[in-house]
């Protein structure tokens, strides 16, 4: 394509941040982060389990260190944020929830739900 400096439509920088934008961007960021980082970690876990006790122990010692736990908590949140935002997308696919008040409310709810579910999941893993 010939590179001509045509005027561009206003981009991210000029808009006031709103929660709908944040949730939309988080949906892509969490989805793509999980697609790459999440799956690689998941495959490492499965392959280690299929390889044998020593390989699995190596995985477990790294995954249960503080770096491993931090990454796993972040991935858990990413799963829940993408899931909640995905449910919002499915609802909106039916034509529901496009008015500003509902759209803002459901966007806020995805964030509250993802943080709550992450906290519950890790509380169950670490303390129960």
């Amino acid at each position: 394509m010939a590179s001509v400096n045509r005027p561009l439509s206003p981009h991210l920088g000029i808009w006031r941040w709103r929660v709908h934008m944040l949730v939309s961007i988080l949906h892509r960021a969490t989805g793509d982060g999980l697609a790459i980082g999440g799956t690689l970690l998941f495959l490492w876990w499965l392959v280690a389990a299929a390889t044998g006790p020593e390989a699995y122990e190596t995985f477990l010692s790294i995954a249960s260190g503080w770096v491993g736990i931090t990454i796993l908590v972040a991935l858990t949140w990413a799963v829940y944020q993408h899931m909640m935002s995905g449910i919002r997308h499915l609802a909106m696919d039916t034509g529901w929830g496009y008015d500003l008040a509902t759209s803002k409310l459901t966007a806020i709810l995805t964030i509250l739900a993802s943080l709550t579910l992450t906290a519950i999941t890790w509380a169950l893993i670490l303390y129960v």
Binding site: M1, A35, A49, E57, G86
Partner: protein
């Protein structure tokens, strides 16, 4: 052109002639992901520990082996569709084509590694 009314012949067909296929499959795999991911997380949390013996025994149960394989297929299919959109949005020309080919390779190979590992554990090889 086929038979039918004019609207019937073009319904669902965009410029690429494949219409809403990608959009639809992304929704179908989203719903199967939803069920399978919730099952996966709840199951892991309910295991007494995540040690080698517990995890491999768990994967070896038929009612776990099969959903876990479905989980891998559904997740890798969904991420294949999702990353395709990312690539199409931000990359162009040759880089786009190369990235899409790499994505297909990653999705197919990654999914196969997952399924094979599950079967190896389940069949006790």
């Amino acid at each position: 052109m086929g038979r039918g009314t004019e609207i019937g012949r073009v319904r669902g067909l965009g410029a690429a002639k494949s219409g809403v296929h990608h959009w639809w499959l992304q929704r179908v795999t989203a719903i199967s992901n939803l069920a399978l991911v919730v099952w996966f997380i709840v199951s892991l949390v309910r295991l007494p520990d995540l040690g080698y013996q517990t995890v491999t025994d768990w994967i070896g149960q038929p009612l776990v082996t099969v959903p876990l394989i479905l989980f891998v297929v559904s997740v890798f299919w969904h991420l294949r569709l999702g990353l395709q959109v990312l690539i199409e949005d931000y990359l162009h020309e040759g880089t786009k084509v190369a990235s899409l080919l790499a994505l297909n390779a990653f999705a197919v190979a990654g999914g196969l590694v997952g399924v094979f590992s599950i079967l190896k554990i389940a069949l006790g090889a």
